[in-house]
């Protein structure tokens, strides 16, 4: 059933978020530390196990796939609810510092990601996610 897939997603999301809150409070900060990242890793590992052992059906996977494909619309809604006015009227210091940090960080990406490796597995791995969004 479709809801099973959505429920697995929701379960991973909530467990990850709780873990993130716990890590945050252990570090003494009132913030979720990596909850979403933990949830992502949980989902990858858990779904992989289910698929490999054949315990998950196609409709259940469709429940995951639906939200996977809703990602771009959600991001567009997110863009439309940003405080863009605040960004553009934040004064010269905010604008210059914001632009500078992005340009410098862009320049650092190739330095840190190193030599491009042949990624045969990456290009073949879009079996479950959509290819084009």
């Amino acid at each position: 059933m479709v809801i099973y897939g959505v429920a697995i997603l929701a379960g991973c999301f909530l467990v990850g978020t709780i873990a993130g809150e716990i890590i945050g409070s252990l570090m003494g900060i009132d913030s979720n530390v990596g909850g979403v990242g933990i949830a992502m890793l949980l989902l990858i590992v858990f779904v992989d196990k289910l698929v490999k052992s054949g315990k998950i059906t196609k409709p259940s996977l469709d429940g995951l796939s639906f939200w996977n494909q809703m990602y771009i619309p959600v991001v567009i809604a997110m863009a439309a609810s940003q405080n863009v006015l605040g960004a553009l009227t934040g004064g010269p210091l905010a604008i210059i510092a914001g632009i500078a940090v992005v340009l410098i960080s862009w320049a650092c990406v190739p330095l840190l990601s190193g030599k491009k490796t042949a990624d045969s597995s990456f290009n073949n791995s879009a079996l479950r996610g959509e290819a084009d969004a």
Binding site: F13, I23, G24, I29, S31, N32, V33, G34, G35, V36, A39, M40, L41, L43, I44, V45, V47, L64, S65, N68, M70, Y71, I72, P73, V74, V75, I76, A77, M78, A80, S81, Q82, N83, V84, L85, G86, A87, L88, G90, A94, I95, A97, G98, A100, V101, V102, S105, W106, C108, V109, S113, K116, T117, D119, S121, S125, A126, G129, A131, A133
Partner: protein, 253 residues
């Protein structure tokens, strides 16, 4: 009659959001295919339209939540709010390759620390150049260039003035918007076409909204790799900025 229609939109805000976002995407892909012959990705155009709408919403309502401050479009704020955003980000990991994440693990973690510290230093330098000379203000503005959440969290912890906190939020917003819009244009230049560089990208940039939007507009397959590191960034920034980074700043000024 018009009031009645508006009432239906207001009462069913979430459903209205599906329609509005769907129409936006249709328009964006139409522009992408017809006017740019597919050279600029449809989702990149859709995100720019979204940001323009957000700007219009800000001007019209004087609010801080973009177009979702317009009453009958409030559902867009829910659809694009942190709960569904994070839920959809987690869903992107469906189809991601765990081996790739493990392979890039150390680089990803390194890029997180470098990203937070680099952003902080750049922000702090500009704060000094603009005449701030107390450690609390410099730290808060430095933290704001990490993300627009780290800035106010740090500022509140250190007791910065509200003017400085506002600057730190604005700096983080500028970063987020620029990453969203700019990523597809620099992707080729910086080798952003594989899981390793996407994880490094998430760690260096850190703004979850920026990375999530920017990578979506570049290649949706890269999103989970960028998001998996970016979602640790704000937490790490909130941890380092008011503590170690503040101590260092305090030693210098």
């Amino acid at each position: 009659m018009l009031d009645m229609i508006k009432g239906v939109f207001v009462d069913n805000g979430f459903v209205t959001a599906f329609l509005v976002v769907g129409l936006t995407m249709w328009l964006a892909y139409f522009i992408s295919n017809k006017l740019t012959k597919g050279r600029i990705h449809g989702s990149a155009i859709a995100i720019v339209i979204g940001l323009v709408l957000a700007y219009i919403g800000g001007v019209v309502t004087d609010g801080s939540k973009g177009i979702s401050d317009v009453s009958f479009l409030a559902g867009i704020g829910f659809l694009g709010g942190s709960m569904l955003r994070d839920f959809a980000i987690v869903a992107t990991s469906f189809g991601a390759n765990f081996d790739e994440i493990k392979k890039a693990g150390i680089r990803g973690v390194a890029s997180l620390f470098i990203g937070v510290i680099l952003s902080f230093v750049v922000g702090a330098i500009f704060a000094v150049m603009f005449g701030y000379n107390d450690a609390v203000s410099i730290t808060t503005i430095g933290a704001g260039t990490a993300t627009y959440i780290v800035g106010p969290v740090t500022g509140a912890a250190l007791g910065a003035s509200s003017e400085v906190i506002a600057i730190s939020i604005a700096a983080g917003l500028v970063k987020s918007v620029l990453v969203m819009v700019g990523t597809p244009f620099v992707a080729k230049l910086i080798g952003l076409n594989n899981p390793v560089s996407a994880m490094v990208y998430g760690g260096l940039m850190g703004t979850t909204s920026g990375v999530a939007g920017g990578l979506a507009a570049t290649d949706a397959k890269l999103v989970p790799y960028g998001a998996v590191t970016a979602t640790f960034y704000t937490g790490l920034g909130c941890l380092l900025s008011p503590t170690i980074l503040y101590l260092f700043t305090n030693m210098i000024f």
